[in-house]
């Protein structure tokens, strides 16, 4: 089997058009099942009352926000390695959806936090890194939009998008453990954004020549 057959946009586009219908139908069915269970099967929470039902969309949105970033970075990296046009297209296509789910994770998290924690927002490491993730998506989109040549935009975006294992906020472990890990993640993130700024500066200097 030739794995590169569908790396050409011309052969991928008809395939994607056919698959999109099936995936869309699957997503609609899964959505309906999830909403039904979330609203009609799951009982009222003993402590949070009905407010906890927000979690049924908050967690998938947060999960998607992080997963899509990894998928985007994967395709961007593949584009850098194999110089395939479609990889860059995949990465640019995923970015707005990733930003959308990151926004939804923040929005629904806020609406859950107010009745549950008593506040819309805290500058906690998890929430802050999710906000930074939103800015990373915006940065990726802004950088690509700022470069006219699409191939060059893909490359610059791919360098910017390379995954930082630090950015995922997670809810596992006890608080001390979590704070420690998130602290390290933020430090790594700060370091990475500084090196990225350097790389971008070089890229820009090269473009000017």
């Amino acid at each position: 089997m030739n794995w590169f057959k569908y790396s050409s946009p011309q052969s991928f586009f008809p395939l994607a058009g056919k698959l999109a219908l099936w995936f869309g139908a699957l997503a609609a069915i899964a959505c309906a099942a999830g909403l039904y269970i979330g609203f009609f099967v799951a009982p009222t929470d003993a402590q949070q009352g009905e407010a906890y039902r927000i979690i049924f969309i908050h967690v998938p949105a947060a999960w998607m926000s992080m997963f899509l970033y990894l998928v985007m970075a994967f395709w961007a990296g593949l584009g850098l390695a194999f110089n395939t046009r479609l990889s860059g297209m995949m990465a640019s296509a995923i970015a707005p959806t990733g930003a959308l789910f990151t926004f939804l994770a923040l929005w629904t998290g806020s609406l859950w936090g107010k009745p549950t924690w008593g506040t819309w927002w805290v500058w906690d490491a998890r929430l802050t890194s999710e906000l930074i993730l939103l800015f990373l998506y915006f940065g990726f989109m802004a950088l690509q939009a700022a470069i006219d040549d699409p191939r060059r935009a893909d490359k610059a975006g791919a360098v910017l998008a390379q995954p930082r294992p630090c950015q995922g906020p997670d809810h596992g472990g006890d608080d001390a453990d979590r704070n420690g890990r998130d602290g390290i993640r933020l430090l790594v993130l700060q370091h990475r954004s500084r090196t990225d700024a350097g790389a971008l500066h070089h890229a820009r200097a090269r473009t000017r020549k």
Partner: protein, 59 residues
Amino acid sequence: MNWGSLDNFLAMGGYAFYVWGSYLVTLGLLVAEIVLLALRKRSALARLRLQGTAAQGDR
């Protein structure tokens, strides 16, 4: 889970603003994305068609 009535369901145990505020915004953005994608696809295809006719005109 038995809500008893539509009013009870919509009231969400007093958390209607938070629960529906989350679900409606999510629904709105997902629908908006689908519409925007369809519009983008249409404009991309129209642009390609335009380029195709322009290229034929050059010949």
